[in-house]
Amino acid sequence: MAEQRTLKLFRGTREGGELKEYQVAAGEGSVVLDAVHTIQAEQAPDLAVRWNCKAGKCGSCSAEINGKPKLMCMTRMSDYPADETITIMPMKAFPVIKDLVTDVSWNYEVNKRIPAFQPRKPDAPDGTWRMYQFEVERPQEFRKCIECFLCQDVCHVLRTHDKHEQFMGPAMLVRAAVYEMHPLDEADRREHLRRQGGIGYCNITKCCTEVCPESITITDNAIIPLKERVVDADYDPLAALWRKLTG
C-alpha cells in the first residue's frame, strides 16, 4: 500500500543550493533511502546520494533527516506522521560535494595518522596468541563502528567550531580506542591523542553517543578512558618516572 509523501531534499554543490520538494509514493515498511531512490529513479536521475548495503552495515547513507543525523537506510518512513514533510540535508560537519553527498576524506587522513597496531610477541610457539572473551569484548564494541561519521557530524567541536585541524573527533577516538584497549597492543598513542588528536577538546556532552546507529557507548567507554590515560601520562609523577626508567 503506497502512500503519497512529501520530501524536501537539498540540491546543490559546494557553491550553494536549495531545498527542492518532491512527491513520492512510499511502499509498506519503506525507509527514507527507498524514497530517495524512488525520486532518483523516476524524477531526478542526477540526484547524488551515497549508499551501499541498505542494511545499516556499511555506514554510507548518513544525512540529517528533519534535523537529526541518521542513516537513511535505517529510518522508516512510518517514523514520521503521514502529513509531515521529511527534509533531508547533507551532514553539516563536512563540505558538500553534491546534494546529499559530502566530502568525508578528512576522516581517512586522520585515521592514517593514528599510530598502527603493535602486537606483543606471540604467546605460543606456533606464533599465535591467547586472549579471552572478556578481554576482547571491550575493543570489540569499538570495532562495531561502521564509519558513518554521524558522531563527527553532531560533535559541536567539529560542527560548530570547525576544529578539524585540532580535534580528531569521536569516530577517530573510537578507532584509536580499538588498539589502545586491544589486549595484544603495545604501542603508546597517548602523546598522539593529546597533541594531534586534541582529545582535550571533548567536553563530554555525549551527543556522539546519542546518534551512534551501532549504539557504541562512545563517550563513556572510549573517550573517557582515553582521556584518563592521557591525563595519567601527563600528571602522574610516578608514571612519568616509570616511563623514564623503562623507556
Binding site: 542526477d46 551501499n52 541498505k54 552495515k57
Partner: protein, 597 residues
C-alpha cells in the same frame, strides 16, 4: 576531449576493488616493494565484504582437533558438487588457517574459545565447526583490519573511482581507464599488472543481497579485454533473505542463525528439511529432531548436524518447493526460528546485527518470534578463468581474486569459504602480480579517446532513463534465469537481453558529470548486460542440474558434465560459448574426497 581532461598515474600494480580480496592483494603487492594503487568504486571500507556476517572457514582445529585441510578440501569439493578447480580448493584449504592467524597478528579480534584461542562456529556443509567469526559481523572486522594494515603499507587509495575499460597492448595488460564520481573526471592508470577484485554480479537480479556496486564490472572488463569467463551459470541463491516488508526484500539473513541452532519451518510448523536430504549427504546429518537438538545443545560428538545446515543450494531449493506447494508464509517465504531454540541473551550476543536488523526494519523481535525468509541472489561462483597458483587470467598481466575469479567454489560455494577465499587468493594475486611485474606497454591514444567518448555518450543523447533499463534487466533475469531455469525461459531471457542492449545504447542522462548517479548507472549497464548474457548463455549450455544450477527440463546431474566447464569468450563482437574439460582430480585427492563416505 582535451588532454587536461585526464589525470595519468603510473603504477607497478593496480588493484581494482577494495573488498577483502583487493585489500589483501594490495597489501601483498606492497610488501613486495611494488608501487601499488588500490581503486575503490565506493569509499574505502564500504565494499561488500562488510556485509559478510557468518565467518571465515579455516581448518584451525581449535574446536574440533580432528579437523584438518583434507576434511575442509573434501567438504568444499562435495559442496561444489565435484565441479571445483581441485587445485584451488586444495590451496584454499591448506592456506586458509595461516591467513586467519595473520589477520590476528594485524589486530583482528575474533571471538574466543574458553582456552583463549580463535573460536569456530558450525556452518552449512562443513563437517566440523570451522568458521572464525566475530558475532555476526565478521566481514566488518576483516575489512577494518585490512584497511588499517593497508593504509600503513604505503598504498595509494583512489576512492569513488569506477574503472570503465582495460587496455591490452601487444598481448599484455597495459592499463585501465576510470572516472572519479566526485567530479566525473577521467583517470588513466598505466600498469603492467592489474588485479581484478571487483566482486560479483548480483545486481543483475531483482531480489538480491547485493548493493549497487555489484554490477559485474570486473567480469565485464576482463571479458572485453579478451579474458575467458567460466562457470557463469552457477549463481548462488542464498536460502535466507528477508522477505517482508517489501522494501527490505533480499537483505541477507546470515547462515549463522542456523549455525547457532535456528530451524526452518513451514506454515504447518513442520521442520521440513528432514525431507530434503540428498543422497550425497545421507548419513552425515541428523535424522530426528531430538538428534539435531542435542547437537545444537553442544553434544556434537555423538550426534549429527541438523539438516538446516545442508549446503545452500539444497536449502534454497527446499524453501522454494515448500512455498510453491502452498506451505509458505503469508508473504511467500518460510519461517526461520531461533527464538524457541536459544535464550534471548544468547541470541543478542551471537547475532546482534540480525537482532537489530529485524527490529529496525521489520519490527520483529527475533528473540521472541520467527523470521520470514526466502531465497535471495547472493554470490556468483563463476568468473574470470585463472591459474590456480598465480590467479593470472588468460590475458597476461591481468589477475583476478575473490568473487570475480571462477573455479574455486565449483557449482556451489560453502558458507564461510568466501572470506577465506578472499584472503588466500587475494594474497596470491598480489604476490604474483608484484613479482611477475613488467613495464606497462604503451596504450594507443586513440583507444583511450574512444573509451572516454563512449563513456560520455549518454550526455549527448536525449534518451531513455538508465534506471528504467536497469530495472527491466533485473526483472528479466529474476523471471527467466533465477533459481530454477529451463530452455524456454533462458532463450526468452537472451531475446529480451538483445532488446535491452539496444535500449542501453540509447539511454540519456541529464545534469553535469559531477556525482551523477544517472550517468553511473548508464555505465554500469554495460557490465550488467555482459554478465547477464554470459550467465544465461552458460545456463542454457549446461544440460543438467548441478549445485546452484537447476534446470527443470534436466532435473538430474549428468556425471559426464561434472568436470566439463562452460567457457565464455569475446570473439569479434560475438559472445562465444565453449565446453572445456577440466583437468582430472588426482587419485590421492579423489581418495580423500571419497573417505568418510
Amino acid at each position: 576531449m582535451s588532454p587536461q581532461d585526464i589525470r595519468t598515474h603510473n603504477y607497478d600494480v593496480v588493484v581494482i576493488g577494495a573488498g577483502g580480496a583487493g585489500l589483501r592483494a594490495a597489501i601483498e603487492a606492497s610488501a613486495q616493494k611494488a608501487k601499488v594503487a588500490l581503486v575503490c568504486k565506493s569509499l574505502l571500507g564500504k565494499a561488500h565484504t562488510v556485509m559478510a556476517e557468518g565467518g571465515a572457514a579455516a581448518a584451525l582445529a581449535n574446536v574440533f582437533p580432528e579437523d584438518n585441510w583434507r576434511v575442509h578440501f573434501r567438504d568444499t569439493m562435495r559442496g561444489g558438487k565435484m565441479h571445483n578447480n581441485w587445485r584451488m580448493a586444495q590451496i584454499h584449504a591448506q592456506e586458509a588457517p595461516d591467513r586467519i592467524k595473520e589477520l590476528e597478528a594485524w589486530g583482528a579480534l575474533f571471538d574466543r574459545t574458553p582456552d583463549g584461542r580463535i573460536n569456530q562456529r558450525p556452518f552449512g556443509g562443513h563437517t566440523y565447526s570451522r568458521l572464525a567469526h566475530v558475532g555476526d559481523r565478521t566481514g566488518l572486522e576483516m575489512i577494518r583490519v585490512l584497511q588499517d594494515k593497508g593504509v600503513h603499507s604505503g598504498i595509494d587509495v583512489h576512492m569513488e573511482c569506477t574503472i570503465v575499460r582495460l587496455f591490452v597492448s601487444g598481448g599484455r595488460i597495459a592499463g585501465a581507464l576510470g572516472y572519479f564520481r566526485e567530479n566525473g573526471r577521467f583517470v588513466l592508470f598505466n600498469s603492467g599488472a592489474i588485479v581484478l577484485a571487483t566482486g560479483g554480479i548480483g545486481k543483475a537480479w531483482q531480489i538480491t543481497s547485493n548493493s549497487w556496486e555489484y554490477t559485474g564490472d570486473g567480469h565485464a572488463l576482463a571479458y572485453e579485454a579478451g579474458a575467458e569467463l567460466i562457470d557463469m551459470e552457477f549463481v548462488q541463491f542464498h536460502p535466507t533473505g528477508m522477505v517482508w516488508p517489501p522494501s527490505v526484500r533480499g537483505i541477507l539473513v546470515t547462515e549463522g542463525v542456523r549455525g547457532e541452532g535456528g530451524v526452518l519451518k513451514n506454515n504447518t510448523g513442520e521442520r521440513f528439511m528432514f525431507r530434503y536430504m540428498p543422497d550425497m549427504f545421507k548419513g552425515d546429518y541428523a535424522e530426528t529432531e531430538a538428534e539435531a537438538d542435542a547437537w545444537v545443545k553442544g553434544d556434537r560428538k555423538k550426534n549429527r548436524r541438523p539438516p538446516e545446515l545442508l549446503t545452500r543450494d539444497v536449502v534454497a531449493k527446499a524453501i522454494k518447493k515448500e512455498v510453491e506447494e502452498g506451505r509458505g508464509t503469508e508473504h511467500g517465504g518460510v519461517f526461520l526460528d531461533i527464538a524457541s531454540k536459544q535464550s534471548p541473551d544468547y541470541i543478542k550476543r551471537k547475532l546482534p546485527s540480525m537482532y537489530h536488523q529485524f527490529k529496525e526494519l521489520a519490527h520483529v523481535d527475533i528473540t521472541k518470534d520467527a523470521m520470514e525468509i526466502g531465497p535471495t541472489t547472493h554470490y556468483v561462483m563463476g568468473g574470470v578463468k585463472v591459474d590456480a597458483e598465480t590467479q593470472e587470467s588468460t590475458v597476461p598481466g591481468l589477475y583476478a581474486a575473490g568473487e570475480v575469479a571462477g573455479g574455486m567454489h565449483g557449482a556451489n560455494r560453502l558458507g564461510g569459504n568466501s572470506l577465506s577465499d578472499l584472503l588466500v587468493f587475494g594474497r596470491r594475486a598480489g604476490q604474483y602480480a608484484a613479482s611477475q611485474r613488467s613495464p606497462a606497454p604503451r596504450i594507443p591514444t586513440d583507444e583511450i579517446e574512444t573509451a572516454m567518448r563512449e563513456a560520455l555518450a549518454p550526455f549527448e543523447r536525449e534518451g531513455e532513463n538508465p534506471f528504467a533499463v536497469q530495472a527491466a534487466l533485473q526483472k528479466v533475469m529474476q523471471r527467466d534465469a533465477s533459481i530454477i531455469r529451463d530452455k524456454r525461459g533462458l532463450e526468452n531471457a537472451l531475446a529480451e537481453l538483445e532488446k535491452l542492449k539496444a535500449r542501453a545504447r540509447n539511454v540519456g542522462v541529464t545534469g553535469s558529470r559531477e556525482y551523477n548517479p544517472g550517468w553511473h548507472t548508464a555505465i554500469d549497464l554495460r557490465s550488467l548486460l555482459v554478465v547477464a548474457e554470459a550467465s544465461a548463455r552458460a545456463a542454457l549450455e549446461r544440460t543438467e542440474s548441478r549445485g546452484a544450477h537447476t534446470r527443470s527440463d534436466y532435473p538430474d546431474s549428468d556425471e559426464k558434465q561434472a568436470r566439463e566447464q562452460i567457457a565464455i569468450k569475446k570473439e569479434g563482437d560475438r559472445m562465444v560459448v565453449r565446453r572445456e574439460a577440466q583437468s582430472p582430480i588426482p587419485a590421492d585427492l579423489m581418495a580423500l574426497i571419497k573417505e568418510g563416505k
